[in-house]
Amino acid sequence: MAFLYLVATVFMALFGAIYEIFSHEVYSYYMIYAFALPLCLGVLPSLAIGIFDLMIPSPKAARFWAYGIATLTVGSAFKGVLDIYGTTNRLVYVYPIAGAILFASAFLSAGYRRQTDAD
């Protein structure tokens, strides 16, 4: 999973950088920092679990968590597109709401276990 999050991080970093290059120096923090979501919520926790032998979430909880990260990341990038274009759309608030619901679902999903137990 950590590898997938790393791929998403690198992809969003490149996407944001390339988008900004063609945006006539109009910038958006949502676009520039969209990579930080899979990085901080995916890569770093995965590394921490592996390094410090922490409890790992159940597959169900891990799936909800991944969905939440994907939702927030896509939402951040799209908000960046709106900002750079100079327009608005209230529907963009669906992304953080859906992301929060998915994260809550991840926490509510039972079944944490130690990595060594799972091996």
């Binding site: 120096e25 969905y67 799209f78 900002d83 274009y85 327009t87 608005t88 209230r90 529907l91």
Partner: protein
């Protein structure tokens, strides 16, 4: 496959929603009011006409100066990016570094019973800037129009098409209200949107005065009752009470670069400036907001306001587009916009 099913469903839902919101933002038209051509001219009943009425002249009399060096030109296509708005902060400070060429080319002039207009081309900081100096008998002469005479979202047309359909002599792009979901929209004395977006609003009053207003202090309906004929929500205000009201670090949204710009200003009641600058090209670098404000002040503006810029910046005069609208800088083409300001 069973384990992947929820993921497939999630990806499908996320993709479908993102596709829908993209179409809703950029493609799908929503008509809020068709045939939006009503004009509330009652506010002019009590306004005295200005003393210096323009001389009657039979028909059009636009002429190009022999010394004109303007390069009137035409288009190419593109998508546009117009910056998001931020409230201006600081006041006029220090010296200007504006470089205005001594060469000013007169592109043309026009006069009739209702207004006089002279259009000139300046070179400011390696940028071509087109200035229409307009004197009107009544603020009623300054009108606005929606694309396809329709108030709605993603209802757009080029400035020149909208202008020609209204027999405009002079026109510039407006505030592209259609790209926003809020911000006062008052056109020809009619309130179309009364939800504020918190940004400065430029008000043109029936008595010919012009003022930048904080929408948190007044509703759109109150503005009309006070005699506001036109109101625009883009901003920021550039010049207020003869002082520059943007700092060198201010920008529309996050656009820190020089760009094509459109601005409107007033030197005296009944005397206005329509200004469009080119940009993003080898010929014209573009102007920052501060440079634009400084230039408006140098023209004598008491009040000036920034309208939608970038690829939207277009000036139409006497039947043709006289600036070089561009979005990417690679080719010149008018962008379709949602509204214009015009005179006929």
């Amino acid at each position: 496959m069973k384990n992947k099913k929820p993921t497939i469903i999630f990806i499908a839902l996320l993709t479908a929603f993102t596709t829908y919101i993209s179409l809703d933002t950029f493609v799908i038209s929503s008509v809020y009011q068709a045939e939006a051509t009503e004009m509330n001219t009652k506010m002019f009943d009590n306004v005295e006409k200005s003393e210096g009425e323009t001389d009657a002249s039979s028909g059009k009399d636009s002429s190009n100066s022999d010394e004109s060096q303007s390069s009137k030109k035409h288009h190419g296509p593109e998508n546009g990016k117009h910056g998001k708005k931020e409230r201006s902060s600081s006041t006029d400070t220090g010296t200007t570094e504006l470089s205005v060429s001594d060469e000013v080319a007169e592109i043309g002039n026009y006069s009739n019973n209702d207004f006089e207009s002279t259009v000139k081309e300046y070179t400011v900081n390696d940028t071509k800037v087109y200035v229409a100096d307009v004197t009107v008998n009544s603020a009623e002469t300054i009108k606005t129009a929606f694309a396809n005479d329709t108030y709605g979202k993603n209802v757009t047309d080029t400035t020149s098409s909208i202008a020609s359909s209204h027999d405009a002599i002079l026109a510039i792009n407006g505030d592209y209200y259609g790209a926003q979901e809020s911000g006062y929209v008052i056109r020809n004395g009619i309130v179309y949107r009364s939800e504020s977006n918190g940004e400065d609003v430029l008000c043109l009053y029936a008595d010919g005065s012009m003022k930048v207003v904080d929408p948190s202090t007044v509703t759109a309906e109150e503005l009309v009752s006070e005699g506001v004929w036109q109101a625009f929500s883009f901003g920021p205000g550039l010049v207020e009470d003869k002082k520059i009201s943007v700092s060198e670090n201010d920008e529309v949204g996050k656009a820190m670069a020089s760009n094509p710009r459109t601005a409107i200003g007033m030197t005296d009641e009944g005397h206005y400036l329509f200004v469009v600058s080119d940009g993003r090209s080898d010929e014209s670098e573009g102007l920052s907001l501060y440079e634009l404000a400084d230039f408006m002040k140098s023209l004598g503006a008491n009040t000036a306001y920034n309208l939608d810029g970038g690829g939207s910046s277009t000036m139409y005069f006497d039947g043709e587009v006289i600036n070089n609208p561009t979005t990417t800088g690679n080719s010149s083409k008018e962008r379709s916009v949602s509204d214009i300001v015009y005179i006929k």
